[in-house]
């Protein structure tokens, strides 16, 4: 199977560098606007919950973070697979650049959940299937980062990381369905289900604003990280020298 020519064109280091430089502001500015709007509507405009009162507002950080933790893992694994199969250097760089961002979102989801869990459930932490599988996701990210850091040759590091990322993909459906397959203390899905969302529209809108803002944040930050990694790896290439000469 061959990849379409446009993929190769975009993923050539020089084109990627130039194109991503133009794309970043298109992600970063809408991200900032949506973030401000989402926080305003979520923390100030949205009504309190009938049962949890004001404490439920952590949902506006917790749920988008948890979604991102899984989405970024999928991006990382798919990029890893593309790097493994088609030997595209840019895919390897995107996978490596995604890992710390994904780890940060996973950590954020776990911490915000824990802060909410104490007053609502009565416990900071329980070993139910949802919490445990999300913790395993954090370890997968950290394992990926540590593994790549321990291998000097970038091609070998990318290959080893990609295999680890692909092995860990099995955890993603487990996280998502854990609340259905087993009895857990964590509640079931509110939005990511076939049924209609079980959240009032006044709370749903800020939640979705935050979710899109987080996605744009990831897009902007992964491109920034990939660009600087690219410059580091290609520091001796002619196109880098040309760009540096033009910019200085």
């Amino acid at each position: 199977m061959k990849l379409p020519a446009i993929v190769h064109k975009f993923s050539s280091p020089r084109n990627f560098y130039v194109m991503s430089g133009k794309l970043i502001p298109w992600f970063a500015w809408p991200c900032l606007i949506l973030l401000v709007a989402g926080l305003y509507y979520g923390l100030i405009e949205a009504p309190a919950d009938y049962q949890q009162g004001e404490s439920y507002r952590i949902i506006f950080i917790h749920v988008p973070s948890a979604w991102m933790s899984m989405m970024i893992y999928m991006v990382m694994a798919i990029a890893g697979a593309i790097g493994l199969i088609w030997r595209i250097k840019m895919a390897d760089i995107v996978a490596s650049a995604s890992a710390p961002i994904g780890a940060a979102f996973t950590f954020l989801a776990l911490v915000t959940g824990s802060l909410w869990g104490k007053p609502m459930w009565g416990a900071w932490w329980v070993w139910d299937a949802r919490l445990t599988s999300e913790l395993i996701l954090l370890f997968l990210y950290l394992g990926f980062i540590a593994l790549q850091a321990s291998i000097e040759d970038p091609r070998n590091a990318a290959r080893a990381g990609a295999v680890l990322a692909l092995v860990g993909v099995v955890n993603i459906p487990i996280i998502h369905y854990s609340v259905e397959w087993w009895s857990t203390l964590h509640q079931g899905a509110t939005i990511t289900k076939l049924d209609k969302p079980s959240i009032h529209i006044s709370m749903l809108i800020p939640l979705l604003l935050m979710a899109v803002a987080f996605k744009l944040y990831y897009a902007a930050s992964v491109l920034m990280r990939a660009r600087s990694e690219l410059l580091k790896r290609e520091q001796n290439a002619r196109w880098v020298r040309e760009i540096v000469a033009n910019e200085s």
Partner: protein, 148 residues
């Protein structure tokens, strides 16, 4: 096979292999991953008799009895089919109320479950208080459609 197709096959085999392995593992461990037992399972003798386990269910309305001189409380826990009496002494989480889903850790003593920890299980419904009131007036419960 070209080297690229070979690599593609290897990736597919890796994912499928790990997927099958983990599926079998989880199926074998199924019972142990469940966070709690329901009253029905407890009465059927599926829960451990000699050591502590977790019991989950809904607090039956009208069965909550508080001892006025201490933090002792008793209530019935149901899975809508069967119910078990629970005894607990301590501070309850904010969400504890009649009709609420809870998970209690403790041991069976005769027909009573002696809990040493009670956690509230929140459901996936979020709404403003006014909407909850309207639903109540319309004769629907707040916990309608809740699955435990």
């Amino acid at each position: 096979m070209t080297p690229r197709q070979k690599r593609m096959t290897m990736v597919a085999v890796l994912i499928a292999g790990v997927g099958v392995f983990i599926t079998l593992l989880l199926m074998a461990l199924n019972e142990n991953i469940n966070h709690f037992y329901g009253p029905k399972q407890v009465l059927a003798g599926e829960a451990p008799q000699d050591h502590s386990f977790r019991l989950g269910g809904l607090v039956v309305a009208g069965t909550v009895e508080r001892d006025p001189n201490s933090l002792k409380i008793t209530f019935d826990l149901t899975d809508t089919a069967e119910s078990v009496k629970v005894q607990y002494e301590g501070i309850l989480p904010d969400l504890f109320r009649e009709g609420q889903g809870i998970v209690a850790t403790g041991k069976m003593q005769g027909k009573i479950f002696l809990a040493d920890e009670v956690l509230a299980k929140h459901d996936e419904n979020y709404m403003p208080p006014e909407v909850a009131d309207t639903l109540k007036e319309a004769g629907m419960t707040e916990h309608q459609g809740k699955k435990l």
